[in-house]
Amino acid sequence: MSEATSAVAEAHRSEWAFVLAATVRVTRDLDVAEECVQDAYAQALSTWGRTGVPAKPGAWLTTVARRRALDLMRREVRFRRTLPLLVEDDVEPPMEPDSAGFPDDRLRLICTCCHPALARDAQVALTLRLLCGLSTAEVARAFLVSEPTMAARITRAKKKIAAARIPYRVPSPDELPERIDAVLDVVHLVFTTGHTAPAGGDLVRRDLVERARDLAVMLHALVPGNSDVAGLLALILLTDARRATRVGPDGRLIRLADQDRALWDPGAISQGTELVRAALRSRPPGRYALQAAIAAVHAEAPSWDATDWAEIVALYDVLVQIWPSPVVALNRAAAVGFAKGPAAGLAELDALAGEPQLAGYGYLPAARAEFLQQLGRRDEARLAYQEALLLTENDVERAFLAERADAL
């Protein structure tokens, strides 16, 4: 790859959201803005090879995209618009404009993409497309739907933004925390989908994990005082620190208990631990900060056996209070089993058996199988592994479960 090509690729990843957000301000139309930004990147590809990479690629791209937008709009008097313009207010964003004088509108853009009036799958699709610059085909692949389906989903969401007048602006200070929560849900969903792909041949979708991490880093820079944002970034860093050890060279899943902790990423761990300490200072601690704290306990444990399970159970006890989700209760039950032995864990898991939200959730029978096996109840363990297999569509997880069942 030539220097110019790799510079464009790098700018695509690091500057797309900034350039698009600044261009939307000119066009007040998401589609036109996307087109202009794509043109700017295409122009960079042909120009930077000749003239060299500019000192500030983001500013260069923004200038080109906005100029293109103004051109289009001057000519557009001849075209009839199909959608109304985006609503925005005149208040400048709280951030200082960058040195090239462009306002940082990324918070507007992500709050618009994650507006609660949009369906969750549309929020995710728009965020990946508009903030991360993924093509429709890439977003479709990430969520295992066909490209036409994803294209229709994105088009419908953009239409709703324009027709229902979802405003392009940073929410007021009293609404901001709630709106940031919605953004964090989307980023978390992108991360979890990437960290353990719900289906397919790979355990991990690196592309999605990295996009989620980039989004969390961006949000942390935009709203540095928000402890939920810090908590989510910490969670992502601490969990992803184990990336090199989750799958063996033969493509097999390696459990946390068996991972080579020497290969965990110390940089991500120290950064994540620092963030989680700060995030936990806010009272009450948020759900992501608590999840990150649990990940930090694992990160700091020298081995599986030396893990402070009592601390982990205590953290889950708090988490389940502020976020009473059956999945959290399941994780807590498993932690109880590691803290107090398989019989205690099994009792906790069986108490969740009637939970409708866990009815199709493969990790419940998988955890039961584990504890049943430790208790020597092999027939029941085998049944539980088979049940877990029926509920899992990720090939790597399936292979792991099948192997465990066979070993009984």
Partner: protein, 115 residues
């Protein structure tokens, strides 16, 4: 400014069995909404229950079929609406949150602008 229709969907059974106190509370809620949001309310009405509704559908052969009952049978039925003016969806949602909907909820729909 744009116009939005706030549609009030509620379980009619809630009203059928409601005590006079509940009725008074709902009426007081609508009166308060009318006063607080007088500047943005451009119209609105309560509807008679769906038991009074009549559905009229073209039969595809140039005529019509007229039947007793609402267009769609749902647990929560359209029972009233407000036409309001708002700068954007966030403002419209903030206004909708002030509309009483004890036995159901609200739908906010932008009015189509024809150019």
């Amino acid at each position: 400014m744009s116009q939005y229709l706030i549609l009030i969907y509620e379980d009619e059974a809630g009203y059928a069995g409601a005590s006079p106190e509940v009725w008074n509370e709902v009426m007081a809620g609508h009166n308060a909404f009318g006063e607080n949001c007088a500047k943005v309310i451009q119209g609105g009405n309560a509807l008679q229950p769906t038991s009074t509704a009549t559905t009229v559908r073209p039969d595809g052969a140039g005529g019509f079929t007229v039947t007793d009952g609402p267009f769609v049978e749902t647990k929560e039925a359209l029972g009233g609406y407000y036409l309001i003016e708002a700068a954007d969806l966030d403002e419209a949602i903030a206004i909708a949150k002030q509309v009483p909907a004890t036995f159901g909820g609200l739908e906010v729909r932008p009015i189509m602008v024809l150019t």
